[in-house]
Subunit: 282 residues, 4 copies
């Protein structure tokens, strides 16, 4: 059976109550599964339970899922999927560093995703993308209203049916309507340690405030600009000798590493969204 080598990921979240882990592991034990890792967490404020289990084995997936549903409370959100690369579309504007880094990882099988296309409102990055053999779609916003532009973008995205949209320094704000199409499926990299320096020009703001650290934040996009659930953050030290451009340049290495880290977590189904926060099992 080829299925013997497959790995599966089970994710469950529901209101906490006694016996959940015992019930769940019972189903998995009776199915004879070979569990390779399990994480669980109960949010003490919301009293919500989260669990992620990885296992290998050749088995009747539907039966396990059915038995889990039978033994868990009705509010439980259960997903049981094969561990596999995610299909993604990347959106960018004119900055190359995050995009280039993702394309390199993708080329060498380190992104855990298939990049179906890159969409940009500028054409500068087209050569880079096509060099890597990825379709590039230039959808200019010039002379268009936001709604019209978003519709064109959505139409292009629709051709690929991606599981995630990755905003690799895409510099336009997405409308609530756009975001609603991809709930907790759009990942953005913001070039500050949020919630400091929301909005445009965070390095300019950081320079003017005279901070001694700068950073980057990868987060899910929701209706509020730069306020979605945070996935990963990192910082580096700066000092008075850093001008805005020095900060921007130093920040690039943080941005690309933080974005790649967030994507690795998302694409292995390690993130639960818990209100406006994330529970991450890594």
């Amino acid at each position: 059976m080829g299925s013997v080598d497959r790995t599966y990921i089970l994710r469950i979240d529901c209101a906490d109550r006694k016996g959940l882990v015992h019930n769940i592991t019972g189903v998995l034990y009776r199915a004879g599964l070979n569990i390779t890792s399990t994480h669980e967490f109960v949010d003490r404020e919301s009293l919500h339970f989260f669990m992620r289990t990885e296992f290998a084995g050749g088995f009747v997936l539907e039966a396990v899922l059915w038995e889990l549903k039978a033994s868990l409370p009705e509010d439980a959100v259960i997903s049981l999927t094969e561990k596999r690369r995610k299909d993604i579309v990347i959106m960018a504007t004119r900055e190359h560093h995050c995009l280039g880094d993702l394309l390199l990882r993708h080329r060498y099988g380190e992104l855990n995703a298939r990049v179906l296309a890159v969409i940009s409102n500028y054409d500068e990055l087209g050569d880079l993308v096509e060099m890597f053999g990825i379709p590039f779609r230039h959808i200019s916003h010039v002379g268009m209203g936001r709604e019209e532009h978003e519709e064109a973008v959505l139409k292009a995205i629709g051709l690929y049916a991606p599981e995630y949209l990755v905003l690799a320094k895409y510099m336009r704000i997405l409308s609530g309507g756009f975001v609603d199409r991809f709930p907790n499926r759009i990942i953005n990299i913001h070039h500050s340690f949020l919630p400091a320096f929301i909005g445009a020009s965070p390095y300019r703001q950081a320079y003017e405030r005279g901070v001694k650290i700068i950073g980057a934040t990868a987060h899910f996009v929701n209706h509020s600009l730069d306020e979605g659930p945070i996935i990963a953050q990192s910082v580096i030290p700066v000092d008075h000798s850093f001008g805005v451009e020095d900060m921007r340049q130093a920040g690039r290495d943080v941005e690309k590493v933080v974005l790649a880290r967030a994507l690795a977590l998302a694409f292995e189904d390690r993130i639960f969204v818990d209100g406006n926060k994330t529970v991450i099992f890594d």
Copy 2:
């Protein structure tokens, strides 16, 4: 019943096999316990299973322990204890920074331990220790062989029957025989990011090697100098302008924070020793 508010820690390790979590959680579920956190890990090389669970409740401890033993394989090491402060003895030489930091934490109930005494081979730190109302035992090594000195120290320790010995910059090497009395119960802070700069004068070595980071390592003490299982490490950047003394001074803040971090983990029973490594559930 006052026992309702107590918290208990269950620790289990044994060779991995299917159904362990299900069996264990079954015992806890049937006892009606209120589990507040659970961590498990399987070492993929040694195929060894580790689990730590915290729960609250008023119940017959012996019955739970008995049922766990009955349902787990014979090789399982099981401990079930109330969560409580540990009894410790601190050993120091002449440097005050780690000791002072621990005494402050202790005074304000942040050490999760009772400091029964401080033992030093010098008397400089006596005033500091006594200022905090802790017994200070000066056991000079001058004019004594190592064996004789260790016997005197062991005799003093024996009066307190501590669960852990904390070496807060105790600068003498302990014999194998001494260490064997406290297996995985002696925690040392070494002033380098081990395994770099084993032995004396790590800051001098770091200075001469021209490293750009220095650090500290908290570890269990075993027979090999500075080679016991590592609990916690941290580093800070330095540059060419740091002389040996600058490194020593900058390193102090790392040392004291790393030692305190390791003790917090140990005193909450969050550390398993796995060969020469540690599995830490935090």
Copy 3:
């Protein structure tokens, strides 16, 4: 001459122009001084020049200062002082960790300052302070208006004539009038990586925002709450398992290290205030 071993610190700032360093080093060279370190920096936006030089020697201080004034532009701010401990007063409220850390450093001569007194609006910390042999002044704010309380505090401070006021978790907001008495002489530790989480309860805010890093910021106090020039910042990672209290506890070690670092810089005269930013020569 005992003066041979003294170290002096020369600090100069003025509008930048050509030849400044040459002129300054010329004065020092002709005086036969033994320079041990020199730093200079020109802010490229404000075109302002900053320089700090340390030197040793037995010499006529007034003559050097006079010659410097003669050879530098009129707008130059020149200070030439012996390197020595600063006189400080610490203000605290009820948290002990920063205060305790400073008292320990002070006891062992590592603070580079003389702590003349500790003032608090609560009395809890009195025992700790007096244990270290430092005068403790309890000035309760209860039943007083802010103005009245500040006057009482100012009167107490007046007895000591400190060069710096250190707010070691002093939790009351100081009025503009109070701050004006000590321009760039009040150093505060704020328990967030500013400008994130200004105001009270930053850990509660951080918890609710779901950040993955928390931090601390030491800064000079000016008229705007938590907006004065930043001296030092540091962060540590957190995750979803950290409640507010866990963040607060983890943050303490960052706070005390960042405050101590800022004080070391200030008390060695290594900080220039450049608008709302700091230029730091370390």
Copy 4:
């Protein structure tokens, strides 16, 4: 005059003595140069003086250099060059992450260097390099002695006359004779925080030692393996859940960022080699 916009870098090192800065800045002042940054440092153990100055201006370079030589002691090493991209050759083996990162930076003018060629003892990376339009030279070591292989490599390098050789995960040890051709001109990235884990398989060694941090070190290559002067180091935290492969993967992002950082410093002439250490003005 086009020369007006050029930037020059002056580097001086010599035994320390009084008046050096005054003399040097005097020459620059009399030449009417517009200094944009100056750093100096005296190594207190070796009593050696280091200085780096950047300035702009259209002027007679030879005259300034001549005057500097006349006014400085005979042992002074003086270099005065235009600030410009360096010519480099990159050497790699089979790992793509450092090389790919450098090629991306190079493509977008962020490397401050011209990559003249990439040489590898394997051919896997050829497609990547040629995709970026850079010559790729495959010089297999199979069936060759080390000496013979090095000669072939040297011959290939000779075609390009690079100022720096960058070892971007080049996994063969270079002979002393090879290294002597490029004194302090070969920069290597080693995948550990040296001096920990010298030699092959540092991630395997780190895994077996059970460290809680891993890192990377960029250094100049000298006769002793992994013992040349360190330029830059960085680390990231790991825990018991990291297998060797997880460490290797996590380490890649550190390696590429540390190498790029070291190259930025080298290519802007910011590094002095001081015995087996580096003095870095950034």
